[in-house]
């Protein structure tokens, strides 16, 4: 495992090349590059249909400098299962050298993972393939034009949960996919954010050192869908973590660890919501209850994650109220 030094990392070849045609300021390619830069072994990727897939492989061009397969929307986990199974079979039969080491990754957005790909993901986690699924969560079906997914936050204005005269954006709260993955007993499950590249890449490296199915959920701001600026993906992912909307944690072989506790950097959720056009209507006086409800949902989730940490670390207790100064 290579040491995570920025100078060394900058010398690694980009396996997702520039000119990949993702939008300016998109979080997803940053996530992909950080994940790939953290892995020393050769990688094969299965990609679900979505922005990342569609923008990076417009025939006859491909931005991928590694073996890569896209087959459909809902089946990245099943597709990589097949690739990995073939690798195991050929290796066992001596048809490829026994010392061949390959890491298998699947990438999918939240639509392709939380929603349509959930069954395939569940199956692959349960079967125990030696692979890692990375969900880049931008909180909606951005590729088709910002439709709500089960990852879309409460209250968000999307094209299928528009803020109107009667309904004020998405009426439901988010699905907690990370905990669903965890419930499969996968040996490594984590949440990460591209603003904290060291944390993200350390998690990838840890995951790669563990055999079996791994799952990482990574926040990936989308300025088109979030109605923000093209230069604030990193600022908004940092704020997403500091507001505890997106807790950074991992569960490795049953041991849950909060890898970053905002403490004095902790901010109210309104500071993350405010710069995002999709939450504009939450700041109307009559929707004040929605801001309160959103904060309650965030607090409830943070308490739950901290609770897992505290149960795993009797000597390093975290106070879930710490830093909450408002």
């Amino acid at each position: 495992m290579s040491v995570l030094k920025l100078k060394e990392l900058s010398k690694k070849p980009d396996l997702l090349t520039g000119g990949h045609r993702m939008c300016a300021g998109c979080g997803a390619p940053i996530v992909v590059r950080q994940v790939l830069a953290a892995i020393d072994e050769p990688v094969i990727i299965a990609n679900a249909t979505g922005c990342l897939e569609v923008a990076t492989t417009i025939y006859p061009y491909s931005a991928w400098k590694l073996p890569w397969i896209h087959s459909a929307f809902e089946n990245a986990a099943a597709t990589i299962s097949g690739v990995e199974a073939m690798y195991q079979s050929l290796k066992r039969q001596g048809k490829i050298p026994a010392d061949t080491k390959i890491k298998f990754l699947a990438f999918g957005g939240d639509g392709g993972t939380y929603d349509i790909g959930l069954q395939a993901l569940s199956g692959a986690l349960e079967r125990g393939h030696d692979f890692m699924y990375v969900c880049y969560d931008n909180g909606a079906y951005m590729n088709t034009g910002i439709q709500r997914s089960s990852a879309t936050p409460f209250g968000a204005d999307t094209t299928t949960s528009p803020a109107g005269k009667v309904l004020q954006g998405k009426t439901q709260k988010r699905k907690d996919l990370t905990k669903i993955a965890l419930a499969h007993g996968a040996p490594y499950v984590a949440q990460a954010s591209p603003h904290n590249w060291k944390d993200l890449m350390a998690k990838v490296q840890k995951a790669m050192s563990i055999e079996g199915p791994k799952f990482m959920n990574i926040i990936a701001p989308c300025n088109r869908g979030w109605r923000t600026q093209t230069n604030d993906a990193i600022a908004l992912s940092r704020l997403g973590v500091n507001t505890c909307f997106w807790p950074l944690y991992e569960v490795a072989d049953g041991v849950a660890t909060v890898t970053y506790n905002p403490k004095k950097n902790r901010r109210p959720i309104s500071e993350w919501l405010k710069p995002q056009g999709r939450f504009k209507h939450l700041f109307k006086p009559e929707n004040d209850w929605m801001l309160k409800k959103f904060q309650d949902l965030v607090d409830e989730n943070w308490r739950s994650v901290v609770g897992m940490h505290n149960a795993s670390h009797p000597g390093e207790q975290i106070d879930p109220e710490e830093g909450k100064t408002w």
Partner: protein, 393 residues
């Protein structure tokens, strides 16, 4: 070579054991379940080298097969009816990516209403997916086709997935006498796998599968698939001939039965052809020049050869074990009738939809069909072009 008595499913499972694929996916659905169930015991007992991926759905079964075949190895699977329907999206993707997966389709009726018995609505619905389709009259043919499917699909001029079909329950669950080749003979016949042109596991030459083809490239990709299907016919014949040398059972595009001087004839797929042969013999005994054509290769459809084989008939009936609702006949009829169009002198052609959801096709049902064809010899005009038989009115 040895003579055995086994069901169609067990025969196909044994063909798979002898082929020894690198990866198989398994998901249960009646009546194909037994194939992968039997194969699982071969895996559990170390009789094959296969990595078995016990997926959570047929959609994932075909997805895993696609990933595995793209990785670079031999891949097989089995399903029926709604399972095939759930795979639908992935069937097109397997063909479009030119991956020579072999799928055993044990024909069963599609829902609704739900039914577990035989008809061809499942594989007929997949006929435009780009897969090669072979049909089998009995367990022997299902076994033989499974082995040949590997060679056909992996042929360097094709790289196409192959669906090998047999009738659910009627063949899949009936014990028949058949001949199995020796394991070594099958191993030599299928040979080492060379069916993936650009394997993902070739790390030195990284390849992108499944890129977005827009208006500027999509149609060229589809045209290549179209051209591959045009090449398939001769390869099916070539492989069938070579298999004949090995087994004593030669295969072509279709089988004809007493067609040389026939005036009336039936065209039927799969097990119904066996029943029809009995009735052909009865009518021959009465001095009626009756015959049968049983297509084996349905995709690509060998329309020139079939038209040539039917050109001497005065009247014929196509039996369809599937409907194409609202069309000008069942799927097989549409193909056969279209094939006849360019003949200078066309036979009268009628269509009967029969046996949906496993309804028996009895000898009497077929006697009535032949009697109707006899009357057409004089009248030349059918009372009904397209109708259901074996049905309560």
């Amino acid at each position: 070579m040895k003579k055995v008595a086994m069901t169609g499913n067990v025969a196909v499972a044994n063909a798979m054991r002898q082929i020894n694929p690198d990866v198989c996916a398994a998901y249960p659905i009646t009546p194909s379940t037994e194939i992968m169930q039997q194969f699982s015991t071969f895996v559990a007992n170390g009789q094959v080298d296969t990595e078995l991926v016990t997926v959570e759905s047929e959609h994932s079964a075909m997805s895993a097969c696609i990933g595995a075949a793209a990785a670079g190895g031999r891949v097989m699977n089995a399903t029926s009816a709604n399972g095939l329907a759930l795979m639908w999206e992935m069937l097109y993707i397997a063909a479009g990516n030119r991956l020579p997966i072999v799928l055993s389709c044990v024909n069963r009726a599609l829902s609704a209403p739900i039914n577990i018995h035989c008809d061809h609505s499942d594989s007929m619905g997949a006929r435009d997916s780009g897969w090669i389709q072979l049909y089998a009259e009995n367990a022997q043919e299902a076994y033989d086709n499974t082995i040949q499917a590997v060679r056909i699909g992996e042929h360097p001029d094709l790289h196409l997935p192959v669906m090998s079909c047999m009738d659910g329950f009627i063949i899949s669950h009936s014990i028949e006498n058949l001949e199995l080749l020796d394991d070594r003979q099958v191993g030599d016949f299928v040979g080492p796998y060379k069916g993936t042109a650009y394997p993902l596991l070739d790390l030195a030459n990284p390849v992108t599968y499944g890129a977005l083809h827009l208006q500027d490239y999509y149609i060229e990709s589809r045209k290549q698939l179209h051209e591959a299907h045009k090449r398939a016919k001769n390869i099916v014949i070539e492989v069938g001939r070579e298999y004949g040398k090995l087994s004593g059972r030669s295969y072509g595009l279709f089988e004809t039965y007493k067609m040389d001087d026939a005036e009336i004839g039936i065209v039927a797929l799969n097990s119904a052809a066996g029943t029809a042969k009995v009735v052909v013999d009865e009518f021959r005994a009465k001095g009626v020049k009756a015959g049968l054509l049983k297509p084996r290769l349905f995709r690509p459809f060998p329309y020139l050869e079939i038209a040539d084989a039917l050109k001497g008939l005065k009247a014929l009936c196509v039996l369809d074990r599937a409907d194409s609702f609202g069309a000008a006949g069942g799927p097989l009829f549409i193909e056969v009738r279209s094939a006849l169009y360019d003949l200078p002198k066309r036979p009268v052609a009628i269509n009967k939809i029969f046996g949906l959801g496993g309804r028996d096709l009895g000898l009497d049902d077929l006697r009535k069909v032949f009697e109707e064809l006899v009357t057409l010899l004089d009248k030349g005009q059918a009372k009904s072009l397209y109708e259901y038989i074996t049905v309560r009115e």
